[in-house]
Amino acid sequence: MTMNEILHNLFVMLVFPGLLFSVACGLLAVWIVRKVTALIHHRIGPPPAQPLYDVLKLLGKETLIPEAGQKVVFVLAPMLGFAGSLVLATLLWRGNLRPGQPFLGDVIGAVYLMAIPSLALILGGSASASPHAAIGTSREIKLVISYELALVLALIVALIKGVGAGATLPLSLGAMAAQTPVWSVSGMLAFLISVLCVQAKLGLVPFDIAEAETEIAGGVLIEYSGPLLALWQLMQAVCLVALPLFVVTVFLGGFGHTAAGMAGGVGKLVLVLVLLILIKNTNPRVRIDQAMKFFWFLCGPVLLAAIALAMIGRARGIGWL
């Protein structure tokens, strides 16, 4: 590699669309969530830089590591989660902004990377040696088992719709961003359920079962303090943009090359984010068994029906199915 390529790769990883850009977008999204929530409550809400203040403050505080905990895993888990979310965000932004240079199968890579933040939470929670964290960890594991199936089924619907449009299976993010499966019955069903899966992945109400501040006091995060808690906050902030971006890429047509496409992409991203916030503020927390039943026995069959519809639509050449 020449010096220029190395510099370019470093820029992509550390500035745009990697570390700096993803974190800045994430903190902005956290502020949007808190501000819109406050507006729904008829409150004024925090100033725009509030998430940044929170992270800075946590970076300046003492780190406490539980004596009985597994120290190495306890320290490494938030780093793993943050790194995973950053790679995911970089991959998704690159797939959207540079559709010309995809690598085949980066959709599958994105699905794998989306599981890393949850895995890191499970590791960190189980290394904390706290009963509350243990309950939170067990709930997080059950939640992952619940929504992963629905998310992958929803993705399959989008893939089948893509086969109808092109000759080969569009297994790259760039190709998926070029189509809008949401304008069909099966695509719309898959889109709605994938939004609910993202809600669960982000740990937002009604699926904040693993953190549940009011009953298990923060759950998986209960023992974390200082810079390590700041890393968790940053991870959740980056995911707050990356996961809606995944939904936008797969179902809503992603970002275009033109300025209008860019503006439309940002609009779609904010739309999905506001949808998530509205669901968050109008629903009470469900129990873990209710969440599992919901994803398996309600979303599962609905998605199977959507897959069947998409296959029929493809075989008969009916676009709106």
Partner: protein, 143 residues
């Protein structure tokens, strides 16, 4: 002013400890979060774990049962951490002054384990939400 203090003043997360209060102060603490007062404007957030806290809001005079728990909650909070004694009982035991079940006011218990602890007092029975917000502002200004 260092960046640590600067950011701490803009985002104090509070953990609520009830050491034997009659629940009156607790209701007023929660009142601060309502749309009328909305302390999230100043970055103040109620958290569920002392590990996440920058301030402990202690309500009630400290009973024998609660004293060791208060000490543990204080030790579990990462420093720097401000302790707020909310209400007459937490400041000076109030009407429970000669109660057999009381160990002492909040500052006495905290100073036993940390003589240099930062303690702020908000008297009242119960203190008004305005008084609590004013107490927090003054304590942060004194940091």
């Amino acid at each position: 002013m260092s960046w640590k203090r600067w950011s701490l003043k803009r985002s104090p997360w509070v953990f609520h400890v009830n050491t034997g209060a009659c629940n009156n102060c607790d209701i007023e603490v929660v009142d601060c979060l309502t749309p009328r007062f909305d302390v999230e404007r100043f970055g103040i957030k109620l958290v569920g774990s002392p590990r996440h806290a920058d301030a402990l809001l202690v309500t009630g005079g400290v009973t024998r049962q609660a004293a060791p728990r208060l000490i543990r909650a204080y030790q579990q909070a990462p420093k720097p951490c401000v302790v707020f004694a909310i209400g007459a009982c937490a400041c000076d035991l109030g009407i429970f002054h000669s109660g057999y079940h009381m160990v002492g006011p909040v500052d006495k218990i905290i100073r036993e384990v940390d003589p240099h602890a930062i303690i702020a007092y908000v008297p009242g029975c119960p203190p008004k939400p305005e008084a609590m917000i004013s107490g927090v502002v003054r304590a942060l200004a004194a940091l």
